[in-house]
């Protein structure tokens, strides 16, 4: 009996030593490399809008907002060697946030703000995906960080692409965002949960029942008021009725028409 007890003691001690070693390395990583975990930030209100702030050359503060089903800002350009202070907030459900190929891995939990710091030295396209189930179109969430020598030129090109809009169009754009239309309808030409707004006006679409319709002001207005009435084939019947005035619809259509 005593011989087995002695052996057990040795094995037990060995197991404890192994685990202590693993734990020791963890603590070493925290202090030596500063790889710490997110902690508590309570001031949610300051982080409900997406923002890119250049604090110093090659030092950016980025406020990411996660929503069903997109990240904002969708694309940013920074020069190599940039340090990013990333703040992450969700405005609806729980989302995930991982920049593939880096150690930036966060949860976006409504009601609290997450934070991590990251330095990107290598030139390339870093993709951000949502890795927590957040609803029907979870798999559509993606954002990009471009690390490029010509970050300033790339940013200027992105800005000039957004031409100065009319007052109606600008208000329409704001409405589409505030009513969450853009969660399902993109403005960049790729369909998401619903058809994209880009170039949709004047297009001939096939409906669920096989009939065809040319998208015009009347069809758009009707589809905003009664989303399930004339569904475009291949898209799920999930769009809710959203309370809007005729005036608001007119502005929204003005903006959609500008997306060519």
């Amino acid at each position: 009996m005593s011989s087995t007890l002695k052996l057990e003691g040795k094995l037990f001690g060995g197991a404890m030593l192994f685990l202590t070693l693993c734990f020791g390395m963890t603590v070493y990583a925290v202090y030596k490399y500063g790889i710490d975990l997110p902690t508590c930030i309570n001031n949610v209100e300051a982080f409900t809008k997406s923002e890119v702030i250049e604090r110093a050359p090659k030092h950016y503060e980025i406020h990411y907002v996660a929503r069903m089903w997109a990240f904002e800002p969708a694309v940013i350009n920074v020069p190599p060697g940039s340090t990013l202070d990333i703040y992450l907030n969700s405005v609806d459900v729980t989302h995930g946030f991982q920049i593939a190929g880096t150690n930036a891995n966060l949860m976006a939990v409504p009601g609290a703000v997450n934070y991590t710091q990251l330095t990107l030295n290598k030139v390339g396209e870093y993709k951000i995906v949502c890795h927590e189930y957040c609803g029907l179109s979870h798999h559509n969430m993606m954002a990009t960080i471009n690390v490029t020598e010509n970050a300033a030129a790339a940013n200027a090109a992105m800005e000039s692409a957004q031409l100065a809009p009319s007052a109606d169009e600008a208000e329409g754009a704001k409405l589409l965002e505030s009513k969450a239309c853009l969660s399902c309808h993109t403005i960049n030409g790729s369909p998401l949960v619903g058809p994209t707004f880009k170039g949709v006006v004047g297009k001939e679409e096939t409906l669920e029942d096989g009939s065809k319709v040319t998208v015009d002001d009347a069809y758009l207005a009707e589809s905003i008021r009664e989303p399930q009435l004339k569904l475009v084939k291949g898209f799920p019947p999930v769009m809710p009725k959203i309370p809007v005035t005729d005036e608001e619809i007119r502005k929204m259509i003005a903006y959609i028409k500008s997306l060519k």
Binding site: T4, L5, V93, A104, V109, A112, N140
Partner: protein, 558 residues
């Protein structure tokens, strides 16, 4: 052979066959996950079941329903077998019916598409109220089953003063004490936070609090899965290999240690989230390392018991005794189910230490690495031991011989290879950043999508090949199981388990009484969870309105 009342016998049989039938669908949905994720299917749904709906069914059936039913059925069988006294049949039926009813309610809303919230049901995604009611009924039914075993246990102790409680019973009571401690916070989450909110009585829910309460339950849940396996590894496996339990004391200590350290460590699932101070995350890292100790102990004791058995069978040498184990024995076929689970558990355990290691966790958090890890535990030793024991119990409870012998011996080996292939694919994918729980065929693995990621194709395809092998193993298993169930009775029905003798039967007072260990377990939970819960309370996190998974706007009225 222990003969039990027909009524009790039938209920135990129901409690192993009902979840096995559901498991057929759960496993089909598991394969569909792999196929959608590899981009072989590039669509929202297949045969009327939407991807995330199928994922919800896969998780709820395989991880919650199947495991809870088996643990209860196993207990209902172990109590009369080892204590010589049956639990009250009426209460066994009450608990069994509650659990089945709860499962059916949850199944109805899942299949009607009103509860596609996955088995973790994180708010503010909201399911139909019947989903929460169903889950609550299942859990409360299992509590009732547990308390029904206490009178036979106390009676046995009165009649056997000074004798050691059978090791299997120590393991069983540990299993359900862990379950009792762990299910209280999730009962609070479901009954106080989520159910009134889903009924529209409250308008918002504190998401940080709900997530913390869920993982307060979610990690001890995995010990609730593995503890019945430890019962089999300690008390039955040595008999199956023709040996003895190497150390009875180690078994008791492992169980009681797990009772203390299973619960106070749930924050290691929340390392990457805001709202919780990183100091408490470090505290839970340390506590997680403590809970690895009994598993390492078990590995040593089980290996020693197997070596003893192999040497009894003529095994020699430092390593060559391994060849003498009954890998493909027709009589001791349960060995294959135990052994393959053990092999998988080595890798499941080591990858688990990666997950629990504080900052290392961020490399793998919520990537495909995670399902690869827990399929080597819950779909490794847990599933294999459970289905092996279900086949064994079905045979003895009906007095029918196992049909189509000996093909069922191959089941665990095919399954093990399948898991190795699929998990290796997912481990690689996880390190490349492949997200878990995502219908990747729609976008990331669809060459027609703007979001296509070609570097993720190889590992995701690899997971499918493993998945196909796993399904082949399960098809063979179900043919044998139902072939046995519907064959002719050849013997008297009853309960029969392989029961091992003990090699080292030393007696230590410290492991002879549950009471001090229960007190320490409660104290550990209080120490580990008071600070983070106080923080969450103090921070006054803004409540979230409800969202349906299909709509980016909050539900009307909330």
């Amino acid at each position: 052979m222990v003969v039990i009342q027909p009524a009790l016998r039938k209920m135990i049989l129901f409690q192993i066959i009902f979840p096995s039938v559901l498991l057929i669908f759960g496993i089909y949905q598991g394969l569909m996950q792999f196929i959608h994720r590899a981009g072989i299917l590039r669509q929202v749904s297949f045969l009327g079941i939407e991807y995330y709906q199928g994922l919800t069914a896969h998780g709820v059936i395989n991880a919650i329903v199947f495991t809870t039913f088996f643990a209860v059925a196993f207990g209902n069988a172990l109590v009369p077998y080892f204590l010589g006294k049956e639990p009250s049949t009426k209460i066994v039926y009450l608990s069994g019916i509650m659990m089945a009813l709860g499962t059916l309610l949850a199944a109805i809303v899942i299949f009607s598409g009103q509860a596609s919230v996955l088995y973790t049901f994180y708010p503010p995604l909201q399911a139909h109220p019947l989903f929460y009611i169903g889950v609550a009924l299942l859990v409360v039914g299992s509590w009732i089953a547990f308390y029904n075993w206490v009178p036979p246990y106390l009676e046995w102790r009165r009649k056997n003063l000074g004798k050691k409680t059978p090791l299997a019973i120590v393991g069983l009571f540990t299993t359900f004490l862990v379950w009792q401690i762990a299910t209280l916070p999730v009962a609070y989450e479901v009954l106080v936070l989520l159910l009134p909110w889903s009924l529209g009585w409250t308008s918002t829910v504190n998401v940080v609090l709900a997530r913390t309460l869920f993982w307060f339950f979610g990690h001890p849940l995995v010990y609730f899965w593995i503890l019945p396996v430890y019962i089999m590894y300690y008390t039955m496996l040595p008999k199956v290999v023709g040996g003895k339990i190497y150390s009875d004391f180690a078994g008791r200590l492992a169980f009681l240690w797990l009772l203390v350290f299973s619960s106070p460590l749930g924050l290691h699932h929340q390392f990457t989230e805001p709202g919780i101070d990183s100091n408490w995350k470090m505290l839970h890292t340390i506590l997680t390392f403590f809970v690895a100790v009994p598993s390492v102990m078990t590995a040593f004791v089980v290996a020693a018991s197997m070596e003893y058995g192999a040497r009894e069978r003529g095994g020699k040498g430092l390593f060559s005794w391994w060849a003498k184990l009954p890998y493909f024995s027709k009589e001791n076929w349960l060995f294959g189910y135990f052994f393959c689970g053990l092999v998988l558990f080595i890798f499941g355990g080591i990858t688990g230490i990666v997950n629990a290691s504080y900052s290392m966790n961020r490399v793998v958090h919520n990537t495909a690495w995670l399902p690869a890890h827990f399929h080597m535990t819950v779909a490794g030793p847990v599933l294999l031991s459970f289905i092996g024991m279900i086949l064994h119990m079905t045979s003895t409870l009906t007095g029918k011989k196992i049909r189509f012998q000996p093909i069922h011996i191959w089941v665990p080996y095919i399954w093990m290879v399948g898991i190795f292939i699929s998990s290796t694919g997912s481990f690689i994918g996880g390190l490349l950043g492949v997200p878990r729980r995502t219908n990747m065929g729609m976008t990331y693995l669809n060459p027609d999508s703007q979001l296509y990621r070609p570097e993720w194709v190889f590992s995701s395809k690899m997971a499918v090949y493993g998945g196909v092998l796993m399904v082949i193993a399960m098809i063979i298993y179900f043919i044998v199981l139902f072939g046995t169930l519907f064959s002719k009775q050849t013997a008297k029905p009853g309960l029969e388990f392989p029961v091992s003798e003990v090699y080292d039967d030393a007696d230590y007072a410290v492991v002879r009484n549950f009471r001090p260990w229960i007190l320490v377990a409660i104290l550990a939970v209080i120490i580990a969870y008071t600070p983070p819960l106080y923080d969450i309370y103090k921070n006054q996190v803004k409540g979230s309105p409800a969202y349906a998974p299909s709509n980016p706007l909050p539900r009307a009225g909330s």
